[in-house]
Symmetry: C2
Subunit: 326 residues, 2 copies
Amino acid sequence: MSQGLIRVGIVGYGNIGKGVEKAVVAARDMELSAIFTRRDPALLKPKHSEAQILSIREAEKMVGKIDALALCGSSAADLMTQGPQFAALFNTVDCFDTHAKIPGYLAAVDAVAKNTTAIVSSGWDPGLFSMIRAFSEAVLPDGASYTFWGRGVSQGHSDAIRQIEGVRDAVQYTVPIESAIEAARSSERPELGARQRHLRECYVVTNPGADTEEIESKIKSMPDYFADYDTSVTFIDHDEFVAKHSKMPHGGMVLRSGATGENSQAIEFSLRLGSNPEFTGSVMAAYARAAFRMASEGNFGAKTVFDIPLAYLSEKDRGALIKELL
Amino acid sequence: MSQGLIRVGIVGYGNIGKGVEKAVVAARDMELSAIFTRRDPALLKPKHSEAQILSIREAEKMVGKIDALALCGSSAADLMTQGPQFAALFNTVDCFDTHAKIPGYLAAVDAVAKNTTAIVSSGWDPGLFSMIRAFSEAVLPDGASYTFWGRGVSQGHSDAIRQIEGVRDAVQYTVPIESAIEAARSSERPELGARQRHLRECYVVTNPGADTEEIESKIKSMPDYFADYDTSVTFIDHDEFVAKHSKMPHGGMVLRSGATGENSQAIEFSLRLGSNPEFTGSVMAAYARAAFRMASEGNFGAKTVFDIPLAYLSEKDRGALIKELL
């Protein structure tokens, strides 16, 4: 360990895990201690570092050698168990994003984080977007908030298409509708339903002999995922898929359209992300720093982005922040 | 006092003081206790409330009856003395905005805020813009930040024009240059000087017989204020001035143009304000709530927007914030 560096570990080495790795390696005040995987560690080579790869079963041995652990598994499959499991042993940060389950997850993590600090649901939504929604509402209580996502890949919707028989690969872009953004920007505070706010664009590669008409119909009628939206389906070949749809761009915006009496006031926050998992990993790295610092001050338990002073996120000390950025 | 309401006082009843008053009256969890003025209280009638008007010399008598005091005097003339004076007695919030003097002011306030919480430099810049600059830099350390102001009235620049002989009234709009915003949005990270980022538009009413050519020349050559900018001067009559230039709109944006390795990532935050002082007052009211809450927990001293968890700003409790906005 280099003197004074924050020692970060990563659990789960998918796209987000690689994003955290890249951010930690780039940070001047952090070092990457270990990457934990459920796979055979011998088969895994880190993409952005020379970090040691350990079996997830060996994590407990690293207690005292890691200052903050970034949990990069999936919200659906991994975090409900991994969150409480690791928060009992380490300071943690995650981007748990199953919205309806956040309060229960937070409580489960808080129950075990007696001597650790566990930051749940960081990232950009939940995360930065949540922060904007919270302070925008606080400073403009008379108003309406709108969130738009995209244009960007929704992993959940892409996965749903891949479950259909005859589909070899698929990607789904969530696309905000420009006229809805304009309506939200006006001072009219319109009510905008799901179909009015977003389109769904699907690019699908089929197996030989697949019935494309049937696949298109199955996608468009799929409840929850597509039935409530205007959805377009475009069939493409594998080469075009690899060439044009391998990146993971995303973005979105939060708008607050409000007023103080007769005067309109508007707040707008937007992200244009060349790589969604790398940006999410970068946000998680900043919150890993915060988790370590809060734990160092004995401020233990499960925390959200609403509980954390911004100064804890920055590599700079408070004096420099005040001088340079206030 | 209604049970449980946060009792807010206002010191200084100019545009910002009126903005705080309007926000406090609209807030469900606050009530306005008193407005303190240096003028004769009998001559002052509150604009948005029935609040009692007291002489600023009577403030000490209100200790224990006010939960947070919004200091709405000018940074140049009042706050350097009023900030420490009142922070010794009350929880306070201000929008001190003389950037170079913030560290000294903060230290002076902190020295006396032993049993009070004093939030300095809230508002939108410094304030919300500072928060965006801080977290954007923390989550995208490889990048460049840009701040644009306007289109909006700069009180300081308007005052400077009014000092010129022959000028009856004047207003100066700071105008961001669209091509500079576009350059900042690109991933090129250009260096943009003062003249490249903002124009200055001046509307001037003269006294009868004034030499407009000389006034225009004096404005355009004024060091610090105008000489480093492309400045336009338009002479108008008093009626047009009242009709078109009595509102105080403002706004601006903070951009962070960054990258994670080869992938561009961009963050953008903007405000479009129908009334600058009312929005500033609204932000101060939210921070008055935070000051009271932090003091209730014994978290005393001088604080900045970097030190305050966002949950303290909201009228909602933490559980509701997590459920509704995370």
